[in-house]
Amino acid sequence: MSKPREGGAPAPSLPSRARALADAGAWADVSALLGRHRESIRPHAPTATLYAESLVRTGRASEARTWLESIVPAITRDRSSLRRATVLTGAAYFELGDLASARRWFHDTLELAREDGDEPLVARAMNNLGAVENVQGRRAEAIANYQLAAAAHQRMGSARGLAECYHNMAITFRDLSQLDNADELEQRCVEFARDLPDPRLVALARLGRAEIALRRGDAALAEASARRVARDFANGGDPVREADALRLAGVACTTLGRFDDARQLLDEAVDRTRQHGALLNQAESLRARAELSAAVGRLDDARTDAASALRLFEELRAIDDAAKLTRWIEGLPVE
């Protein structure tokens, strides 16, 4: 039996139907449609890769990885599919928390993209590598990658790429406590995002700036900015990010000594994040409420919220956050 050709067409119109669903952003439908034809699409690289993308985009990273590892070795001539499959494999590993493998696949992506002159993918791979380095705490390496990604976006004139890259870089600079640099980059992100226009990205960058204001100790500015961003996210129908902005406003109120306002905001943030199953945001909201309770002397409440937050951080393998919170709990006065 001859080996199926990777460029050959599968069942008529299936790729076109799947592509149309993908173009409409209906990734769950893409995954359901192509999942029913798994074996027939396997030798057909573009459609097999599209199926992998649908799995990654619908949070089925483990299935995506298994599928990709079975199809990538067979893709030889269709470089476009090979590049996409490679970056998707990196993304699947990233989602699964296997950062070393993610890093390896993103490097392979970068090499392929460079060989083929695929500049958008060069930029995306650089950005992804920056994210991997950042999660691993290698901040300087993260910035190095983000800078190269920004240069690639600049070459292409991609305002969206630049905005996202500046936002990522700002987060890294914020983690390095280089707050002026971080703020400058968030402002650039806002400028590009506003021109796009992308109100969600504008709001994200403004939330980043509110966080920076808080770290600088300007709680009044942080509160006003965060409340405004919460309204923007609410208008955009993004309750999880709205809750994150409410959390930040709550932390600012705690700092300002306005404990009742803080309690109200943080209760709302905890409830919303719990309702939407946003575990990391929920952990951060619980931690903020624990800090509020400690500030007003409600140590039992502080311990309860902190313990819940700690469990979530551990579940999410957020090692640094878990370690810091453990130290914080140990430092609480004994009643």
């Binding site: 067409a9 392979d108 240069a151 506003r194």
Partner: protein, 450 residues
């Protein structure tokens, strides 16, 4: 700007049914040409289709290639490597044998359409940036600023001339660099900015000059650096005064020879880049102190531009503040607030150590917090609070770690992110400063400097 086209040169009647939907799916307009026509190559992908008459493909490809350099695919029905080799030798970028290669052909058309779209995007982006960073858009009429701008305007038409912009933090060095780039002949090329203080030496070298595969443990693939990525454009080297001495020599070579060598590489690669460097450091003093190479200083100092601090631009302060208020009012969807006379006096009377950046932050803060439509002197009083933090205005009782964090943040901001210098000013070692950063003001029990 017209639509991009899929230009078809049919040599036979085969496959005619596929082109319309293929062009449509990729957002291209389908056009047909005859063998003797010259297609407009800049905005098109070309396909020569010759199902059943593959023997005519190579000659047709060669003839078309002589008239255009647009991406060109040859399509036939024979999955024969000899046909493929002949048409590629004749100038085609690829050969597809239908129907087996139909999806590969679609990929080729989709990728090509994306490249055409990117080219337009790049042009539109450069035009937008040029509007944003117009040279005449730089606000101010103080003599010191006008002198700097007059000098800068003379360098704009000469794309190879290196520029050195000096001035305190926040005086608008990057804004001026962008104006020089986007007002000049390199405007359609990239503007690549790099903060030389943000990265340690070993990373910065690879960042600037790139590296070859295997140059160091982590170098899994060859990587071009920022100089290569800025080719035909401008590279803006901010905080050049923080450049490590070992890199100063490499930068000097790049400026002198207009070539770079990747880390671990043996070839010299030509780069066509305008270098604009900026610093708040007194480079002449650094040369005297032996921390900055004299030859590099003279190479950079071809066209020095000194931006004045805001305190020397008294008449500019209120117009700039009003401009910023109008801009932020639009950004935050609020009416433009009025500055009271007391507020204006306060703005003019301040020292502005953070210059325009500080003014911008103060005005934006007042705007966000403003609820009355009027901004008074009291609304402008908030200082950058990290600075207040060290003056005891953290919520009391503040954790020691928070106070330590505030001190570290302040020092890093004061040194433009230079960790070694920040550590020196704090009287601790760089590793200890790093530990304090990593652990938010805590460096473990008895954290020692040793």
């Amino acid at each position: 700007m017209g639509a991009h086209a899929l230009v078809l040169l049919p040599l036979s009647d085969s496959f005619l049914e596929i082109w319309h939907s293929m062009a449509n799916e990729c957002g291209l307009v389908l056009e047909s040409v005859a063998a003797e026509d010259t297609p407009h190559g800049r905005r098109a992908l070309l396909v020569i289709a010759a199902g059943g008459v593959e023997d005519r493909l190579a000659a047709a490809t060669r003839a078309l290639r002589e008239r255009t350099d647009a991406p060109l695919a040859a399509v036939g029905a024979l999955p024969d490597h000899r046909v493929a080799a002949a048409v590629v030798r004749a100038g085609a970028n690829d050969y597809f044998a239908l129907p087996d290669d139909l999806e590969l052909l679609k990929s080729w058309v989709r990728d090509g359409a994306e490249r055409l779209r990117l080219r337009d995007q790049g042009r539109r982006f450069a035009e937008g940036e040029a509007r944003k960073y117009r040279f005449e858009g730089i606000l101010g009429s103080s003599p010191a600023l006008e002198a700097a701008l007059a000098r800068a305007s003379r360098v704009i038409p000469y794309p190879a001339v290196t520029v050195l912009i000096t001035g305190e933090t926040g005086t608008g060095k990057e804004l001026l660099a962008r104006a020089i780039h986007y007002d000049g002949p390199r405007a359609t090329g990239p503007f690549v900015d790099v903060n030389c203080a943000a990265l340690p030496e070993h990373l910065l070298e690879s960042e600037l000059f790139g590296h070859e595969k295997g140059a160091f443990t982590d170098a899994r693939a060859a990587k071009p650096g920022l100089f290569e990525m800025a080719n035909e454009g401008t590279i803006f080297l901010d905080e050049i005064g923080h450049l490590d001495p070992s890199l100063q020599g490499k930068l000097l070579r790049a400026l002198q020879e207009r070539t770079i060598r990747r880390v671990g590489g043996t070839r010299s690669l030509p780069v066509d880049v305008r270098v604009i460097a900026a610093t708040h450091v007194d480079l002449e003093a650094a040369v005297r102190a032996g921390t900055f190479r004299e030859d590099l200083f003279y190479r950079l100092n071809v066209m020095p531009l000194a931006l004045p601090p805001l305190r020397e631009r008294g008449p500019d302060i209120i117009p700039i503040a009003r401009h910023l208020l109008a801009r932020f009012a639009a950004d935050y969807d609020k009416p433009v607030p009025v500055l009271t006379a007391r507020a204006e006096r306060q703005l003019v009377g301040r020292e502005w150590p953070g210059n325009i950046r500080e003014l911008r932050n103060v005005v934006e803060r007042a705007m966000i917090l403003c609820e009355t439509g009027t901004i008074d002197a009291a609304d402008l009083e908030a200082d950058v609070p990290a600075r207040r933090a060290t003056r005891g205005s953290l919520p009391f009782p503040a954790r020691l770690a928070d106070i330590v964090t505030a001190a570290v943040v302040l020092s890093l901001e004061a040194t433009g992110g230079n960790k070694s210098e920040a550590a020196r000013r704090l009287g601790i070692t760089r590793p200890r400063l790093q530990r304090l950063l990593d652990h938010q003001g805590e460096d473990g029990e008895g954290g020692s400097d040793e």
